[in-house]
Amino acid sequence: MKKKFLLLLLAASAFSYASKAQDTVKTTADAPLVLYGSVDTYYKDDLSGHGNNIPTSFASDNNSISIGMIDLGLKKTVGNASFVGELSFGPRNDQSVPTSGYHIQNLYVSYNLTSKLSATAGYMSTFIGYEVISPTGNFNYSTSYLFTNGPFQNAGFKLTYAFSDKVSLMAGIFNDEWNAYTSEHDVSTFGVQLTITPVKNWTAYLNVATGPTSGTELDLTTAYQITTAFKLGLNAATFSPSHYGGGFSGVALYPQLAVSKVVTLGLREEYFKAKTVDAGSTYVLAGPLPGGSVIGSTLTANIKAGPLTFIPEVRLDKVNKQEYSAFTNSSLAPTTSASQFVLAAVYAF
């Protein structure tokens, strides 16, 4: 534990020059008390006609007009000090926080130690991965296997330093378990995020989270707004638990094309593989059985009407072999593929 704190301090003191911390870009010093959030609702039809074949997070109700969550955030910056408090209520909240019925999505304070170095402590969205809990932060309404099986939030303390407007580094020490308000035993997950902006409008994040309890995830998340109409995103990750094998690896590609002022089309093409487990393993993931893989293809449209976004989406997932699949068809017989249609409406404010 002490060694990790020392490493953290060394990492912070080694940095020499930079401009702005990209990990926690501030809303500017003169920002007022800012209110933000969203409300979302959806209808889903699993084309098997029953249940919840595709096991990724949220939008879990079949053949039902259902609610996601109401998300309410407040933030304020005074001088170098700022806070963010974000609460949410609803099924999407309950599936995304450590304890169903608790409502904290983000709760942290931050302080700019210098114009280049900031310190942040509290419970915050994870730095790992491409997709997020808030429906306003994702293009697709359904979520990927990489997102579902990775961390959602981390509680901890982190320092962020920007070497320039193109390179910054975050280093932090987090609780031993992901998605938990308190640690199980100690504060022993070490996290690092290297942010690189090779060219304007292209940002890449190289992420590592590792600890004796949490296991180790290596992650690359990148997005490039190539033209005003075309954006390409990519997420690649591999995770290994600390003991008995298991884990996953995968890659997802996110091309998106704005075809008009209000309509953008996007595809998520994901390959996800469940690693094999050793005897005695209790590791369980949402996806194919250990040793199997799945390809998920999701075609989504975002149709804007002011702050409201309509999201029609079709998705087809196919597992490589029947023996690794938990999908069933309309007769409840095992099958290798599953498909669903979703229509969601998300209001952002």
């Binding site: 990990d23 926690t24 870009v25 501030k26 809303t27 500017t28 003169d30 920002a31 007022p32 008390l33 800012v34 209110l35 933000y36 955030g73 407040l74 933030k75 963010v84 974000e86 983000n106 942290y108 915050m124 969205s125 994870t126 997020v132 809990i133 808030s134 306003t136 932060g137 304007k200 409008n201 292209w202 940002t203 997005a223 707004q225 190539i226 033209t227 005003t228 954006k231 002022k261 002011g306 952002a348 404010f349």
Partner: protein, 177 residues
């Protein structure tokens, strides 16, 4: 008060807030010193272009576009602008132009951050933004520009550019009365 009509169109078909101010008795050098002090105090985050020229100061700045009730605002985005302040003996002029809007989104940490790759010149706002949005932003830009000019005028009129220190508050003693 809504003041979007304060913006005009210049010879490059760009929106501009333009003013010429007569100020008898002051030299160009004085204007320059007071402009530099005005920018340093009021707009410390603005980038001022380094130039050999003594008759003008140019640079860039930005302002947030806010919506919502007065107690709690929502940040829609930012508008970047170019400013130019020029002086001659007895008068100065200034303008703000090249207004470019970039929408913000709320990132995973709750921070409002610019959407990369989306820059909308105010002149193209009608095609890219909703009418109400454009109207709201135009009003905010106009008010900001007027405030910029009003503050500049105050500093140009200051006899001393240095801030006037307020007198120490009189200490009341209750022993003597």
């Amino acid at each position: 008060m809504a003041q979007k009509d304060l913006l005009s169109i210049d010879e490059h078909n760009k929106y501009i807030y333009y003013q010429v101010v007569q100020q008898p008795g002051l030299t160009a050098d004085t204007f320059q010193n007071r402009t530099a002090y005005f920018l340093k105090i009021n707009y410390p985050k603005n980038k001022v272009n380094k130039s050999e020229a003594t008759e003008s100061i140019t640079g860039t700045g930005k302002l947030l576009m806010l919506t919502g009730i007065s107690a709690a605002k929502h940040i829609d985005g930012e508008v970047r602008y170019f400013f130019n302040i020029e002086y001659k003996d007895q008068k100065y002029r200034y303008w703000l132009t090249d207004f470019v809007f970039t929408p913000y989104y709320v990132d995973r940490y709750g921070n409002s951050v610019p959407q990369p790759g989306i820059d909308i010149p105010l002149e193209n706002g009608a095609a890219k933004l909703e009418k109400g949005q454009l109207n709201n932003y135009s009003i905010q830009i106009s008010n900001y520009s007027k405030q910029f000019g009003d503050k500049l005028k105050q500093y140009m009129l200051m006899v001393s550019a240095a801030p006037i220190k307020s007198d120490k508050k009189k200490v009341i003693t209750t022993k003597d009365w």
